[in-house]
């Protein structure tokens, strides 16, 4: 099953229609389930709902063979965490799909790194959909530990800084307890 999801904030007719057309043209030969939010276009070839709860969303992600979505960070993260092939289409400001074009920059970056496939326009979608099945996303190394360590180190330095009067009191108690 391919899970098509566009988030809930703004409609994204271009993507839903492009996937529907690709299905019609026989480019997708498996079931599609779509979460389309406020999109007014109704796909003719597969089932769609406006929104799904968090639990159900996770279930669809886990059970899908691949995902097609807008280039939102939430979906990209979800796909990477679950090692699912993702084809993303960035929302564009000029179509009123988003408040700025930040999705284009994100899509470009993650595409360059081999994590996702990107269709920048509707006309790119058919070709990319064909690639989706065989696409193996490059796993993303989690650097959160390194960032957390940097913050830890910084916090520890603050907690031991001499300016912190309360700490000095603790330290006095410590020295006192050591000296008996």
């Amino acid at each position: 099953m391919i899970f098509l999801t566009v988030g809930t904030q703004f409609p994204f007719d271009r993507l839903v229609k492009a996937v529907d057309d690709a299905f019609n043209d026989g480019l997708i030969n498996e079931e599609v389930f779509a979460q389309i939010g406020e999109t007014s276009y109704r796909p003719r070839n597969f089932e769609s709902v406006a929104s799904v709860g968090k639990k159900l969303f996770d279930k669809y992600v886990k059970e899908s063979s691949s995902i097609i979505s807008h280039a939102g960070m939430g979906t990209i993260t979800m796909a990477l965490d679950n090692h699912k092939p993702l084809l993303a289409m960035p929302r564009l400001k000029k179509h009123g799909e988003v408040v700025n074009n930040h999705q284009v920059a994100i899509a470009k970056k993650f595409e360059e790194l081999g994590h996702i496939l990107v269709a920048y326009q509707e006309k790119d979608l058919p070709e990319k959909v064909k690639k989706l099945k065989g696409f193996v996303p490059r796993p993303r190394e989690n650097q959160a530990k390194a960032v957390a360590a940097r913050i830890s180190e910084f916090l520890y330095k603050i907690s031991t800084s001499e300016q912190r009067l309360c700490c000095r009191n603790i330290d006095k108690a410590f020295i006192k307890s050591k000296n008996g």
Partner: protein, 162 residues
């Protein structure tokens, strides 16, 4: 008191304010939760739904959503942030953004807190607007793309949280 107890006590004595808007900002912040384990920490976020989820991690203050398009809402959020910062008196503010994070960082700085800013991973080509404002007073400013660290002064790149 052993030296380990001393470290634990020092940590408990440092009050950390963790502030992030609902959505991507808070989920990026939570990926770093390990770093403030043992410290006296509390959360500030923008929606009730996220606030309720955070309650399992500690004290939570919900200040409401705001952005540049709604100046009146900004004032409301600002007042709630002032109340929170005055009540808690944080020693450190850690934020991933956005507008509310920026406000609390400023307020924190006024009451003498150290400021740690982690700019969101969605800012690829340049630092976020909130980030650019906080940059001048942040004590530690982290970005999630190496190129950004080259582009700006006093900005550090350690890695991305996603």
């Amino acid at each position: 008191m052993s030296s380990q107890e001393l470290i634990a006590k020092r940590k408990k004595n440092l009050r950390i304010c963790l502030v992030a808007s609902a959505g991507g900002h808070i989920s990026q912040l939570l990926r770093l939760a390990e770093s403030w384990k043992g410290y006296d920490s509390f959360y500030v976020t923008t929606t009730q739904v996220v606030g309720e989820k955070l309650q399992q991690h500690g004290r939570v203050y919900v200040v409401g959503e705001c952005n540049r398009q709604h100046p009146i809402r900004v004032v409301k959020v600002l007042l709630r942030c002032i109340r929170t910062v005055c009540r808690e008196g944080p020693d450190v503010v850690i934020s991933t953004g956005a507008a509310a994070g920026c406000i609390v960082c400023f307020l924190g700085k006024i009451v003498g807190a150290k400021v740690i800013w982690i700019d969101s991973i969605t800012n690829v080509e340049r630092i976020s607007l909130s980030g650019r404002m906080v940059r001048y007073m942040a004590d530690l400013f982290l970005v999630q793309w190496a190129e950004l660290a080259e582009q700006y002064k006093n900005v550090e790149y350690v890695g991305a949280v996603i």
